[in-house]
């Protein structure tokens, strides 16, 4: 018989991975078009390239995480070790905090309180959650939440979508008010993450059962 099972199975797994890339690439491109279209229509913040380097770097890191790393893990295109997955989660949280608050983050963390606006329903909160829901619908329709067996994969996809909606609002809104940035950008992302995770887990459960 002289079969090479290892070679055949690895080739099959590689083909499956390529099929997943082909299947989900249109959804990713569509997501990019949606957020890009929003930024074109609503306009980028005027001080985008004049922000502190660290804050801008954190925003670029968030883009990288939400467009590449988190979807890749969630869709089963990349299988980092557990330690690296923990690093990714911590990096995402830290990058989002720095991206939203910049130097104000240090003052808040060292007990300086949150000056400026308190939590309230405003345009940025609505835009973040709204954009997140559009991305969420895209994820559900494309089957992204059910691409892997483990339910935790849905959390990676939801995390990526939430970060994408968050960074869009950060790149649109020029506010320097730490209170607004904390509640209406970062808080909105957290709220979206919770809602998207719940919806993602339900979608995972239902779509995997089909």
């Amino acid at each position: 018989m002289s079969l090479d099972a290892l070679g055949l199975i690895v080739a099959d797994l590689r083909a499956g991975r390529q099929a997943r890339v082909r299947y989900f690439m249109p959804a990713l491109v569509l997501a990019l078009l949606l957020v890009g279209g929003f930024l074109v229509l609503e306009g980028l913040r005027p001080d985008l390239w004049r922000q502190p380097l660290g804050q801008l770097g954190a925003q670029l890191a968030v883009w990288l995480l939400c467009l590449v790393a988190m979807p890749a893990v969630g869709l089963g295109l990349w299988f980092p070790a557990r330690s690296l997955r923990i690093v990714l989660v911590i990096a995402a949280i830290a990058a989002a905090a720095v991206a939203a608050l910049g130097q104000d983050l240090w003052a808040i963390l060292t007990g300086g309180g949150v000056p400026g606006q308190g939590p309230r329903l405003d345009y940025c909160l609505g835009a973040t959650v709204g954009a997140g829901f559009v991305l969420l619908a895209l994820g559900v329709l494309s089957g992204a939440f059910a691409a892997r067996r483990r339910a935790s994969s849905a959390l990676w996809v939801s995390g990526g979508m939430s970060l994408m909606a968050f960074v869009v609002s950060v790149w649109h809104c020029p506010s320097a008010d730490p209170g607004h940035n904390l509640y209406s950008h970062l808080g909105a992302a957290l709220l979206l993450m919770l809602l998207a995770s719940g919806a993602g887990l339900i979608a995972h459960h239902r779509q995997r059962q089909r």
Binding site: M1, S2, L3, A5, L6, L8, R17, F79
Partner: protein, 214 residues
């Protein structure tokens, strides 16, 4: 075969393999191939055939991988048991195909079922010098001892020794945890050993497990 103890990451590797991770499959292959090859070699007693059956086992498992579900408290052992069951079934199919082929050719003296020739750690009937009458007597006593067992324990012994199912298969058949099956089997065999005496119970188990169907 003690992979479950020496490879604590089998279930994790399996999980990642099922999600499409090539590297995890490579590691799983490296961990499982030697013990499965050893099992198959012991069953078919031919290295080349064992190697072919190993490849077939991996392919069959790959095609059936969506049906793999971890049951019981030991996920690593469940992975190993799943592959082992597939390998053993393939080996038995191979041996049965051999005997069918031999019967078809009608070669004199070649009509013994090779399944009965599967190597076992227990001594053969001949080595125990058990003659037909003694075997019948033992079988009768085993029947009596089995009848004394609680129904739940008797069921496990019958499925394990008479039907030849593994603990994992019995667990699946009875819809109880594999650990519970093992506890029942342990208690049943202890009760049988008490009823039959240690030497007699070993012979009885051998008879049950091979030709002397009780």
């Amino acid at each position: 075969m003690s992979v479950a103890q020496s490879q604590p990451g089998l279930a994790v590797l399996m999980d990642r393999y099922l999600d499409g991770d090539q590297r995890a499959f490579g590691q799983l292959h490296a961990a499982l191939s030697p013990p499965i090859r050893g099992l198959l070699g012991k069953l078919v007693r031919d290295n080349a055939t064992a190697e072919d059956l190993l490849q077939a086992t991996l392919l069959k498992a790959h095609l059936a991988r969506d049906g793999f579900v971890v049951r019981g408290p030991h996920p690593d052992a469940a992975v190993q048991a799943w592959y082992t069951t597939i390998a053993r079934n393939l080996a038995l199919d191979h041996l049965r195909a051999q005997i069918r082929e031999r019967k078809r050719r009608a070669e004199p003296g070649e009509d013994r079922d090779p399944v009965e020739e599967i190597a076992t750690d227990l001594p053969s009937i001949e080595e125990w010098q058990v003659d037909r009458d003694t075997a019948a007597e033992i079988t009768r006593r085993v029947h009596e001892a089995l009848a004394q067992l609680p129904a739940a324990q008797r069921e496990v012994v019958e499925l394990h020794k008479l039907a030849g199912l593994s603990m994992a298969e019995i667990s699946e058949r009875l819809q109880i945890r594999e650990g519970a099956v093992r506890v029942r089997a342990h208690r049943a065999y202890k009760a049988l050993a008490r009823a039959l005496g240690p030497g007699m119970s070993l012979v009885a188990m051998h008879l049950l497990g091979t030709g002397g169907r009780a």
